[in-house]
């Protein structure tokens, strides 16, 4: 493919020789699968909504170019620049998140999107990676110097973000963020009593949400007792997986996309299962797994605490999101509005995932030890 000399000192050349090429390959594969599935899944949905047949496919390409540019650009950054970009994104996203309940458009009972022309922006997607990086920074600062109240600040920041998400409400994102954040805490070497306490705290949070948020109550009820409400989407997804069997019905042959309104977004995995079968599902699962493991291995080898924590947090975020999406589609978890990274249709989600993966690639790049020593001395 690209013939770049090891001695090439251009930006691209340097990037190519330092970046985790296997990780890049995994992401390219995911994006390709996403395009393939958008061809399969979205025409049916588009016709339902009276759009041109390839409406969502075109839109997908439209989002893809700037998103991949962002991914590439961010992956060129140094860890320090990553932190700055994250801080900037965090502040912007926080402002938008505060504004969303007031200027957002209501879709399916929740205000999560801000309409800008023909696009809608979901601020919560962007705050996740930014928040993880900010937290990692605060944790590592306290770790470096106990006089810095990093942990407390991180908890305060966490509560703020969660509070804003509750207002929307977006329970799925809260769960995702909490889990990723908790895992980061865990990775940072938090003592086990603390881990237990945090776990208990999280559980009580879930219980409170179940008791006081009717939207959450109904979703969990429906999951636990399918007879209690409308489980149409999940039921149809189950049908799709069963119809797909080992090798699938063949591209375009599936029916689930005609019945599930979110076939091109949250339930894309079901379309994959129906049209391409178990083997394709396992390959998809494998790619996510491969990317996560590769990033974690890099983190283990890393010496800098901030980079370690950031990688662990971001990859948790990425992996958990994929895992939760698949688990929901497979009816292992209650339904949440969560996309499958790079595969589902959705501009905000794609852009945010590119930001996440861009930062991961930036942090997992090989760099001279001195470069770090200088920064975090």
């Amino acid at each position: 493919m690209i013939a770049l000399s090891r001695t090439d000192r251009s930006v691209l050349g340097q990037w190519w020789w330092t970046v985790d090429r296997w990780g890049v390959a995994a992401i390219v594969l995911l994006v390709s699968i996403g395009i393939l599935l958008s061809f399969a899944a979205s025409p049916g949905v588009a016709v339902r909504y009276d759009y041109p047949q390839f409406y969502f496919v075109y839109r997908n390409f439209l989002f893809l170019a700037p998103s991949l540019a962002v991914l590439f650009a961010v992956s060129l950054l140094t860890p320090r620049q990553v932190r700055r970009v994250a801080a900037l994104v965090f502040v912007l996203a926080l402002v938008l998140l505060v504004a969303t309940p007031f200027i957002g458009a209501e879709i399916k009972g929740a205000r999560r999107w801000i309409r800008i022309g023909s696009f809608s922006l979901q601020a919560s997607e962007f705050i996740k990676p930014a928040f993880i990086v900010m937290s990692a920074w605060l944790f590592s600062e306290q770790n470096r110097d106990q006089s810095v109240p990093g942990n407390s600040l991180a908890i305060l920041m966490f509560l703020t973000v969660v509070g804003l998400l509750v207002l929307q409400p977006d329970f799925g994102q809260i769960m995702l963020l909490s889990c990723a954040w908790g895992l980061m805490f865990f990775f940072s070497g938090l003592s086990l009593p603390w881990v237990a306490a945090l776990g208990a705290w999280a559980l009580s949070g879930v219980a409170a949400a179940y008791l006081y948020l009717p939207h959450v109550t109904s979703r969990i009820d429906r999951f636990l007792d399918p007879a209690s409400g409308d489980t149409y989407q999940v039921d149809r997804a189950m049908d799709a997986f069963q119809a797909g069997s080992l090798l699938g019905l063949g591209p375009g042959e599936g029916l689930v996309k005609r019945f599930i309104p979110d076939a091109h977004t949250d339930f894309i995995f079901a379309v994959a299962g129906e049209e391409f079968g178990l083997i394709a599902c396992l390959i998809l699962l494998g790619i996510f797994c491969f990317f996560v493991i590769r990033c974690l291995l890099r983190a283990v080898a890393e010496e800098d605490h901030f980079i370690q924590l950031t990688i662990a947090g971001l990859v948790s975020l990425f992996g958990l999101q994929a895992m939760i999406n698949m688990a929901v589609t497979l009816s292992l978890l209650p339904a949440k509005g969560m996309t499958l990274p790079f595969v589902s249709y959705g501009g905000s989600s794609l852009m945010a995932n590119c930001l996440t993966v861009g930062m991961l690639l930036a942090l997992t790049r090989r760099r001279g030890a001195t470069a770090l020593g200088n920064e975090f001395a």
Binding site: L282, C289, A299, L330, L332
Partner: protein, 628 residues
């Protein structure tokens, strides 16, 4: 610092290992779930899945049509212009109805029905607001369509009977399905589906109905149709072709109008029923849309019984038309010969009472032929007395009396031919000799239907073949050829005696129906009158001046019969006419029979090529061609 960093580093590695283990668990769960769904459950799933997300909807099959012998459509399927309302698409059902009422007439009843249905049904299923709209009304709804929320014009198919009352009793009608009638066929529970309720529509319901089609539709979680995936039109019902001649049928109905009467005309060779007229009638189209209560009450209360098909379902004493059977029974039993004379003095004494002839002064000495011609009662009292009820019963049955032919309508009745055994079984009494005499002149327990008497006359005129009435030429691809009839074992020389008597009735001066003969050469008919006593005028009434039937209330007047065949020289058609409480066979029934028979002979439908029985598909009406 160095050790702390090292500890932390070790901790991170350890925890990463722990998390990896956890991750593996999650991965294994996902893998297990995928394997379970896509491999284990997939096999048992295959049939099930399509059912879950697709819904099968039945499509009503197009009902088979009914034609007369020349291809005239008797029961048709026409466009039914309807207006339906879909509650989901309205702001309020009442508002939409108000808007619609400004365009077409909506009665208070219709309004209530729609509101009731709207409260009961699911919001997306449509409710029929009005049916059978005129084209003008339908067009008006169409034009205003966009401004009427939730109101949709819709063209369905409904049954239509172009000849209305003229064929009501024969073809019958279809109407909405009752609770009890919903059986195995799921198509019956389709809203608006109609099935045959009477007549031929009911008799061959299964053939006419066809097989329901279906369409697979994609439905959302609430069962609302999103789109059609596949469609199977089903199989249209089979067309039926009848032996009837609609033109003659209409003429007969016109001629009978105003009376409670019945007329049957049949081909004496093939048994083809050409006319099956019963008056008064009702409009079967009323039942298709659902008959209004007042109309229904009117039909129920009418003393002329419009709903009764008198040709097959009306059982009446045959009166003197039965005398041919008595005569043949006497000849067959050998108790009389054609040349035996009986002297009629106007009355005779038998079994403790006096038996009177209808003619006060008596007929004098009569041969059998003349006894038929003059319809002498004394002659047939004597003949019956000699013959005995057993022989009379046997002869009556040979002529098809006392049992139903089951030839095409569920309303057919068997009539009654009494016997000694019957009387013991049903009345618990033994047979009286006097009852034999009464039976001999067609009174007493005897009951016959007009179609039975037409068939009886046909069997007399065709040389003693047991011809049966038939009404179906073909149903779908099943063609019913006219059967070769068995002989009834009555020798021609016996038949000739009664046929000569019948000729005398119509064509010889002094015959009881000489006034109702056909003048055209070669078209002469030969018949027999019948007057059935319903009530005997009492002495008190006679003293009060009541002597004639006209002076009695309708209910008490005598019934009038006339049976005949024609042409005398080369018989082809048999007719029976019954006029309920018509007072006299010769005055009320014979002229009617003469007129109808005359029409039949003028057209001579048996000699016109009927439409060829079709194997399937479209029945095309050919030009009429006369056989040379």
């Amino acid at each position: 610092m160095e050790t702390k960093d090292h500890d932390r580093y070790k901790a991170f590695t350890r925890r990463t290992a722990i998390m990896s283990a956890g991750g593996m668990g999650v991965l294994a769960t996902l893998f297990g779930r995928l394997y379970y769904l896509q491999v284990v459950k997939s096999a048992e799933y295959v049939g099930l899945a399509d059912d879950n997300r697709m819904s099968m909807e039945l499509l009503a099959p197009l009902r088979g049509r009914i034609f007369d012998r020349f291809g005239v459509e008797l029961a048709a399927n026409t466009k039914n212009f309807r207006v339906v309302l879909i509650p989901e698409q309205t702001e309020s059902v009442e508002m939409s109805l108000d808007d619609l009422a400004k365009i077409i007439h909506i009665s208070e009843g219709q309004r209530k029905k729609v509101l009731r249905a709207a409260a009961r049904q699911r919001k997306f299923s449509s409710i029929i607001v009005a049916e059978n709209l005129s084209w003008e009304d339908f067009a008006r709804v169409n034009i205003n369509g966009p401004s009427l929320a939730g109101i949709k014009p819709d063209a369905g198919v409904s049954r239509y009977y172009p000849f209305g009352p003229d064929l009501a009793h024969v073809v019958g009608y279809v109407a909405a399905v009752n609770e009890e009638e919903i059986g195995d066929d799921p198509v019956l529970s389709l809203p608006g589906f109609r099935i045959g309720k009477s007549g031929i529509e009911r008799q061959i319901e299964n053939e006419l109905r066809g097989k329901a089609g279906s369409r697979q539709v994609e439905v959302n979680a609430y069962g609302k149709v999103k789109r059609e995936l596949s469609r199977n039109e089903g199989v249209a019902g089979q067309d039926a072709v009848l032996t009837l001649d609609m033109e003659l049928q209409s003429k007969a109905m016109q001629r009978l109008a105003g009376e409670s009467a019945a007329c049957v005309v049949m081909d004496i060779k093939t048994g083809d029923v050409l006319v099956l007229a019963s008056t008064p009638a009702y409009d079967p189209n009323d039942f298709v849309v659902g008959i209004a209560q007042e109309k229904w009450d009117g039909l129920q209360k009418d003393k002329y019984k419009p709903q009764l098909n008198k040709t097959i379902g009306g059982e009446y004493s045959p009166g003197s038309t039965f005398k041919m059977v008595t005569a043949l029974a006497a000849l067959d039993a050998g108790v009389m010969s054609p040349d035996d004379y009986v002297f009629c003095s106007g009355s005779m004494y038998f079994g403790n009472r006096t038996w009177n002839c209808w003619k006060k002064g008596g007929h004098g000495a009569l041969s059998m032929k003349n006894a038929v011609k003059h319809s002498c009662d004394i002659f047939f009292y004597e003949a019956a007395k000699r013959t005995g009820i057993d022989n009379i019963e046997k002869m009556a049955r040979r002529f098809g009396l006392g049992s139903a032919y089951d030839f095409g309508m569920p309303e057919e009745k068997a009539g009654l031919v009494p016997s000694k055994g019957w009387k013991i079984a049903n009345r618990g009494e033994s047979w009286q000799q006097g009852e034999t005499l009464n039976t001999g002149i067609g009174q007493g327990f005897l009951l016959t239907t007009p179609v039975q008497l037409a068939a009886m006359t046909a069997r007399l005129a065709n040389g003693g073949f047991a011809v049966k009435p038939r009404i179906f030429r073909s149903v779908g691809s099943d063609v019913y050829p006219s059967e070769e009839s068995a002989r009834i074992n009555v020798p021609q020389r016996h038949l000739d005696v009664v046929l000569a008597g019948m000729n005398g009735v119509s064509n010889e001066p002094g015959g009881t129906a000489y006034g109702s003969r056909i003048w055209d050469k070669g078209m002469e008919l030969a018949g027999k009158t019948g007057t059935v006593q319903v009530y005997s005028i009492s002495k008190a009434e006679r003293l009060a001046g009541i002597r004639k039937g006209e002076q009695l209330p309708w209910k008490l007047r005598d019934h009038a019969w006339f049976v005949a065949f024609a042409p005398v020289s080369n018989p082809r058609y048999a007719i029976s006419v019954f006029v309920e409480h018509g007072i006299s066979g010769s005055r009320a029934a014979a002229p009617v029979a003469r007129d109808i028979m005359h029409e039949v002979l003028l057209k001579d439908p048996a000699r016109i090529m009927a439409i060829p029985p079709v194997a399937s598909g479209q029945i095309v009406r050919p030009a009429l061609t006369r056989e040379s």
